[in-house]
């Protein structure tokens, strides 16, 4: 019931969309494709959903070949495309009913699967889908994708443009679905969501940078990272960028993540440099890399 891709290539005219994509998603796994817009995430989803033919390579979904068995795949996967793809002029209930009907089932038959998602939007069941807020649209789209009890779920950027609260709720729902044995492939441009997946693939410009558990990916980060802070953020970044020993400097929340070129690095030296550049209230403390650090480091190469 897993997913498997090997050496998938796809180009549109002359533009390469994805190149040499190979990864496996184990049955029952929550697997994340993490990368910015234009990285090729949507292309991968469309190939797996049998909507696009790859130029090269092989792929299977739940043991079915994406080219030969496309009809069988279409019956057994749930697919939620990147943009909101429901009928805006139909009500919440009509949308759900429609998708149940075309999959040859009824809402009642599979209600237990969507119950805890649908209950949140049920008070608005007579409202037109176009009039829902972003978070509610997401929940409705997920309900529609689940209505036929798919074994595999494809979610293409389900949380893009959604506020942090709704995003958190959405991920809690995914975790519950995973417990019911559904294999989930999800993509997101928000790197902080990577930690919620079992395993992730970091992807940029059509190529996979790394595949592993989120923890393993940050553990692989080759340098010591320091949280640096001062009274003037802009000046701090500029001063650090001019520093001869700087390897990388990136703002991270209230801090700047700093890595040094040298193997042995003394914080006092940096402290001194920053003070002499006219910065005050300086703090320098070691910290852990997060997914974004890892992504930026991998993307550099």
């Amino acid at each position: 019931m897993g997913i498997s891709l090997s050496n998938i290539d796809k180009s549109y005219k002359k533009q390469i969309a994805v190149r040499n994509i190979t990864f496996d998603v184990n049955p029952g796994e929550l697997f994340g494709l993490i990368g910015p817009d234009g990285a090729g995430k949507t292309t991968i989803f469309r190939i797996l959903a049998t909507l696009l033919l790859p130029d090269n390579g092989k792929a299977t979904v739940a043991g079915l070949d994406i080219i030969k068995d496309y009809k069988a795949i279409r019956n057994s996967v749930g697919y939620m495309p990147g943009r909101f793809s429901l009928y805006q002029d139909l009500t919440v209930e009509e949308n759900l009913n429609f998708f149940a009907t075309i999959f040859g089932t009824t809402i009642a038959e599979n209600y237990d699967l969507i119950k805890d998602i649908y209950e949140q939007i049920a008070p608005f069941k007579d409202r037109r889908a176009g009039k829902l807020s972003g978070g509610m649209k997401q929940k409705l789209a997920l309900s529609c994708a689940l209505i036929h009890k798919p074994k595999v779920l494809f979610l293409d950027e389900p949380t893009t443009g959604v506020d942090p609260v709704s995003r958190k709720e959405f991920w809690e729902m995914l975790k519950r679905l995973q417990k019911r044995g559904i294999t989930i492939l999800v993509s997101t441009p928000y790197m902080d969501e990577a930690a919620l997946c079992d395993r992730i693939a970091l992807i940029q410009e059509g190529e996979i940078l790394d595949i592993d558990t989120p923890q393993a990916i940050v553990d692989k980060f080759p340098k010591d990272i320091y949280n640096v802070k001062a009274d003037n953020m802009y000046k701090l970044i500029q001063t650090l960028q001019r520093y001869e020993h700087t390897y990388s400097v990136f703002p991270f929340g209230e801090f700047v993540h700093y890595t040094d070129k040298r193997v042995t690095f003394k914080t006092e030296e940096l402290q001194h440099y920053l003070e002499s550049s006219g910065l005050n209230a300086i703090t320098i403390a070691p910290t852990h890399a997060d997914i974004e650090d890892a992504f930026m480091e991998l993307a550099k190469k």
């Binding site: 959903a49 429609f98 075309i102 040859g104």
Partner: protein, 368 residues
Amino acid sequence: MKRFIGFIRKEFYHIFRDRRSLFILFGMPIAQILLFGFAITNEINNVNIAIQDHSKDASTLEIINKISNSKYFSIKQIISREAEIESIFQKGKIKAVLNFEKDFGRNLIKEKSAKIQIITDATDPNTANSITNYINAILQNYQLEKNKSIQIDYQIIPQTRMVYNQELKSVFMFVPGVMTIILMLVSAMMTSISITREKELGTMEILLVSPLKPFQVIIGKVVPYIFLSIINAAVIVLLSIFIFKMPVEGSLFLLGAESVLFIITSLALGILISTISDTQQSAMMISLMGLMLPVILLSGFIFPISSMPAPLQVISNIIPAKWFIIIIKGIMLKGVGLAFVWKETLILIGMTVFFIAVSVKKYKIRLE
């Protein structure tokens, strides 16, 4: 089957929720029929003309009286100088000037010929032509009357009768044309737009990744519009019968059946358009430009095909509307049966099959 019915139900939701399109859908045929029936006409009535009479004798007076007594013309002005003609036409009220030469009556008797000049405003050539013909007819008539007393060796008296449309009502010509345009637009444009809308919204992606078969999606899109188009066709026929007293000489059943055939031809065209366009906008452009214009210009609806240059006559053969117009004119005005329009009917059927075959071949089960 349940899936299919669910799909059709959804299509009706779309149609009935979009009030504006629905209004256009049913308002347009009525507006067009009334417009063509009342406002646009080739007939001449009460055209304003001016007279310049250099002779002012008994015969010119007789002719002028004859003209002004006819319902076609009303004499608005008598002018005395040539120079006035130009300024009269520029004002635009007067469409023609009759200019009798000096000594018109004397010449007529003595020389056996007299000259009368007809000057028309040809900015609208059709009207100018008709005016000239009507005036000529009146002059001819006058001559015949005058010559009655005189015995000549022989004389040809033409007797004309306009069959199938005795009163030369132009609405009889327009009804079949308007009906054709409306059916074509509703069927082809609306289906192509409703299919491309799903592509644009991204819902087509979900439909493709569902157990619905492509042909179910297409037929599901088409069925509601067959109903709407049949209602439209009925409204047009009823309007033309009860408001314009248009006859339906032939069988109403045959008329209905042929209309359904043409609706299906148009729907097939609409599906074909939707397979080659990705946006609602381009579907609409192709429908309007690719269907409306040829129907108006080349189907024989307004401009007779027989007077077109040869290449256009050939092209007109591939326009489904041409054949449908021939069929319904035959049924409504001439009262002919299938025996006389079977050829045209077969052509329409052939076209429909061709469009459907191409659409099925071009329909994508994937996104590219």
